[in-house]
């Protein structure tokens, strides 16, 4: 039976990888992740995936391709719901089917559904199904599930303590990671966006790294308790349908209320469906609630976006924030 399972380092990797890693390891299965994104991976993905898809989806196809010959099976869960209130973007819902239809000669795809809208135990029904599929007992599955949950909580705790997802994962692996430090007096910038867009160093053009070099304190949506974000995003007359969008919008409302935040940056991908809505709501509401006091910039990235262009925009934005600070004093 499958002893090597592939896990592409894209999309929900940044939210749920620690859980699945611990779960599979406990069952004695090795998890193989795809390497860091490179131009070749993105190009492969763009070539194979449907042309209208957004970059994160194309990238996912690329990552699946790198795993193709290395593993016995690829784990592409169908993320439907992880709470009762929202679902995922339709591209997540159809992800296993899209991958299967676009990429030929793949190893078996494990595409169990994650639907936590019924029952209280989140991933457990999926884990139970996985155990049946892999020929493990319920008891083994249960202890692996608990282990996974334990890791997930530890991961969440690190994120809320201010570690960025990749750092937090490194710390969970036992590597030494510098504790997140904030320089008092520097600019405080909220960088919001879907984790798979913001933390992938290649497709985000390393926005986080660039901002760090500009000596800015970075605040992200992972640093706040998701339940709180959901409460805040529930203020809209109609709740957004998508999980990640609720988090991003909730975070925008959260940081709007913080006195120390100097500006908000929204990182989005070209052709992202939900973001067409989220970005407009952010633009209108940030202006409305801060009475035009908090600058907002939206950075949309596609395959052609140049590194220099982004650097210039970020520097200009930071310069403007500095000037604004001096002006207010």
């Amino acid at each position: 039976m499958a002893s090597h399972i592939g896990f592409p380092t894209a999309l929900f990797y940044y939210s749920h990888y620690p859980f699945w890693l611990a779960f599979f390891n406990r069952l004695g299965i090795e998890v193989v992740t795809s390497p860091k994104t490179t131009k070749a991976i993105l190009d492969d993905g763009s070539r194979e995936a449907v042309a209208d898809a957004c970059i994160p989806i194309k990238l996912y196809h690329g990552h699946v391709l790198t795993l193709k010959d290395k593993v016995d099976a690829i784990f592409i869960p169908r993320m439907v719901k992880i709470n009762r209130r929202t679902t995922f973007c339709p591209k997540f819902l159809g992800l296993p089917d899209m991958v299967r239809a676009s990429l030929p000669h793949l190893p078996p795809i494990i595409d169990l559904q994650v639907d936590a809208s019924r029952g209280l135990l989140g991933f457990w029904p999926t884990c139970r199904g996985l155990a049946d599929l892999l020929g493990r007992t319920r008891r083994e599955a249960w202890s692996a599930y608990l282990e996974g949950r334990h890791h997930h909580h530890a991961y969440q705790k690190l994120l809320q303590a201010g570690y960025l997802p990749l750092q937090a994962m490194a710390k969970l692996r036992g590597e030494t990671v510098d504790a997140p430090a904030r320089t008092p007096g520097s600019l405080n910038l909220a960088v919001l966006g879907y984790p798979y867009q913001v933390y992938d160093q290649y497709i985000s053009l390393d926005i986080i790294g660039k901002l760090k070099k500009l000596q800015v304190n970075i605040w992200t949506m992972e640093m706040i308790n998701p339940a709180r974000l959901y409460r805040l995003s529930g203020r809209l007359p109609k709740r957004l349908f998508w999980h990640y969008s609720n988090l991003v919008l909730g975070a925008a409302y959260y940081y709007l209320r913080q006195e120390n935040i100097d500006g908000i940056i929204h990182v989005t991908a070209f052709g992202c469906g939900p973001d067409a809505m989220v970005d407009k709501i952010m633009e209108l509401d940030i202006r409305k609630f801060s009475r035009g006091q908090i600058p907002f910039m939206s950075v949309s990235i596609d395959e052609q976006t140049g590194d220099a262009g982004i650097t210039t925009r970020l520097e200009a934005f930071i310069d403007m924030l500095h000037q604004k600070r001096r002006g207010n004093r």
Binding site: A49, V50, D52, A53, R78, V80, T87, F88, C89, P90, K91, L93, G94, D97, M98, R100, A101, S102, Q113, L236, P237, K238, L240, F241, W242, F270, G271, C272, G273, P274, D275, A276, M277, D279, K280, I281, L284
Partner: protein, 370 residues
Amino acid sequence: MKKVSFAHMGYSYLGFKQLVEDMGFEAVVPPNPSPATLDLGVTHAPEYACIPFKMVLGTYLEVLNKGAEMIITSGGVGPCRAGLYGMMHEKILHNLGYNFEIFVFDPPLTGLWSFFIKLRRVIKTAGISWLAFVDVIRRAWAKLKLLDELEQLATGIRPYEVKRGDTTRTFHSCLKIVEQARSQKEIAAAREECRQLLQSIPRDNGRRPLRVGIVGEIYVLLEPFMNLEIEKTLGEMGVITHRSIYLTQYTATDVLAHGAQDVRQLAHPYLNQFVGGHGQNSVGEAILYAQNGFDGVIQLAPFTCIPEIVAKSILPRVSRDFGIPVLSLTIDEQTGRAGIETRLEAFVDLLRQRREQMEARSNAALLPGY
């Protein structure tokens, strides 16, 4: 009298105009969509919103400039973005300084109570009784059904017409007749008259038109301006088209019930999950067309439409497995008529050749119309 308006979608505006007027409002009929409407929408809409969003926003701006005070529209349950459009349109238009009321009706099955509350408010504003309202709805429904029926009839006749453009001209004079009909009796009479008119178009029954199914997103399917009159263009090339969505049939199966189960069943081996909008339907219906011996399938999708992107990536596999050519057309504000026509011509040529090859192989002509 309150001035009420609604979105423009195909020929349904005739039905909605009657509905609004019979309730005692003054109807601000949305003008036929034009490039100017689209420009207005594009100016104020988010860049990556799909074309229906931009078009409807442009329409609202036009009717608000004409003095509409209340807009009635439909909502949705997601995860397709269309379910949030009511809220987004309201936010954007209020931000532009327009003052109006908007009633967004979500499908009743998702929230019977809120549906009822909203309906009660609309009826109260109108000042009519529930009994009268039921009658109003029934007549509007009959009209919408008639419009769908005539459209279907026209697409079936067009490929046979002797004089090019006859059917379209007759269809437009039928629309005028239907517009005049108000009571059930008049609508029934209009039905007879229009059927006769359409049936009496001189036809050449010796032709053997191809049959093409059209699947995709509801707005670009229903609004001829949006799909650049694809059904007329194909019809005049000698193709019988069948659309997977007609407004009344869609309302009956998807808005008031849980969707066409047989189509979803067919889609299961390829897409085993409802992805919002018409994504799963597009896959299932393409299979249905293949099973019913259609010559080809055309998918119409607005640019950035999420469910249709999912369907689009799966359709090539359906095409391979069922041996039916599928053409996916993505529509945005840059789409030009000439480009679409060229692609349609090429597609139709391909279908013709394919049929000839199949006939040569079987040494027999296929029956006309098949």
